[in-house]
Symmetry: C2
Subunit: 185 residues, 2 copies
C-alpha cells in the first residue's frame, strides 16, 4: 500500500509476497480496508506520548509527531506527489471506509479510542498540578488540538507544519499558561 | 442523493427526473462527486452567521447549526439508520472524493474557504472590542471549533450534540470570558 496507494493495492499480491495461505491472511484482515486500519495503527503506534511535566512541550512534541505521521499517510503510494498536492490521500480513504463498513468503522473508532487515551493522561496530570484550570476537560482540549490538524488535512487543505502546531498548542493552552506563568515567562 | 445515499445515486437518473439535456447537466456537474459538493454547499449556505456582539452566543448558535447540518448530511440516503449508527456517511464520501480527484478537492476547499470566512468576522470584531486577547488568531480559534466537530464526526464517532457544542465554545473562549467578565458573571 505504501508503494502503490489505496487504489493500486490488492490483497492477492500481499498473499503472494507474504508466502502465507490466503485464508490465513483473510481471516485476520478480511478486506484491504482492514489492512489499511492496521497500517495506520502501526504508524500511530510509532508516536510516543511523553509526560515530562511540561504540558506545553509534551503536547507540541506529540502533535508535531502526529502531524508528521498524517503527512506520511497523505503521501502513501504517491511518490510523485509534489508539495502543491493537497490531497489527504489514504487518511481520507480510511475515513470513507469507516463510514461505509460498520466493522471497519468499529475498528477505526477502537484504534483512535485506544491511541487518544494516551495524551489524555499528561493533560489530566497538568490539571492536577494546577497547570490547567479545573473546569477544562482534557477530552475537549484534545478534540481542539487533534481536530484542528485533521480538519486542515481532510477539509481545508491548509498546512499542518511545526509552526502551526506550536501556534495551536500555545493558543489552546493560553488560559493555562496565563494561570501558571502570570509574569509571562 | 438524499433519498438513496451516495452509492445508490446515479447522475442518469437526475437527468431523467430533471428533464434537462444530459450534456447540460454534465457540463455543470461532471461527476456525482461534483453534485455532492453542490449538495453540501447548499446545506452549508442555509446556516447563517450572526454578529450580535455576544461572541459566545453567536458561536454557539452557529456551531450548533453546523453540527445539525453535519448530522443531516450523515443521514443522507440512510432513512433506516438508527441512533446507534455512528457512520459519518456522505461527509466521509466528500472527503474521499476530494482526496481522489484534484478538481473535486479544489471545489471542496474553495467551498470551505468561502464559508469559513463568515465566522471569522465576528471573531475579529470580538478581538477588536477586547472580548478576545490580541494574541489569539481567529483562524486558529475556528480550526479548534470546527475541527473538534469534524474530528468527532469523521474519526472518533463521538456525539456532537448541543451540550457538546456549548462545552466546546465555553472552553475555547475561556480566556476571553475570563478577560471580559473578571467577576465570573
Amino acid at each position: 500500500m505504501t508503494e502503490r496507494g489505496y487504489d493500486g493495492f490488492a490483497i492477492d499480491e500481499v498473499v503472494a509476497r507474504a508466502s502465507v495461505a490466503k485464508t490465513t491472511l483473510y481471516r485476520r484482515w478480511p478486506s484491504k480496508d482492514h489492512l489499511l486500519v492496521a497500517l495506520v495503527a502501526r504508524i500511530q503506534d510509532e508516536v510516543e506520548v511523553a509526560d515530562t511535566g511540561d504540558i506545553r512541550r509534551d503536547l507540541t512534541v506529540y502533535l508535531t509527531a502526529v502531524a508528521t505521521g498524517l503527512d506520511r499517510m497523505r503521501r502513501v503510494g504517491r511518490d510523485g506527489a509534489g508539495e502543491a498536492d493537497r490531497s489527504a490521500g489514504v487518511v481520507a480513504e480510511l475515513v470513507a471506509a469507516a463510514a461505509r463498513h460498520p466493522d471497519v468503522g468499529d475498528a477505526v473508532r477502537g484504534m483512535f479510542a485506544r491511541r487518544n487515551a494516551l495524551p489524555l493522561r499528561p493533560l489530566d496530570r497538568a490539571r492536577e498540578r494546577g497547570a490547567l484550570p479545573t473546569g477544562i476537560s482534557s477530552e475537549v482540549v484534545f478534540d481542539q488540538l487533534a481536530g484542528a490538524l485533521y480538519y486542515r488535512l481532510l477539509i481545508t487543505g491548509a498546512p499542518i507544519g511545526a509552526d502551526y502546531v506550536q501556534e495551536l498548542v500555545d493558543q489552546v493552552l493560553s488560559t493555562a499558561t496565563t494561570a501558571s506563568h502570570p509574569d509571562g515567562t
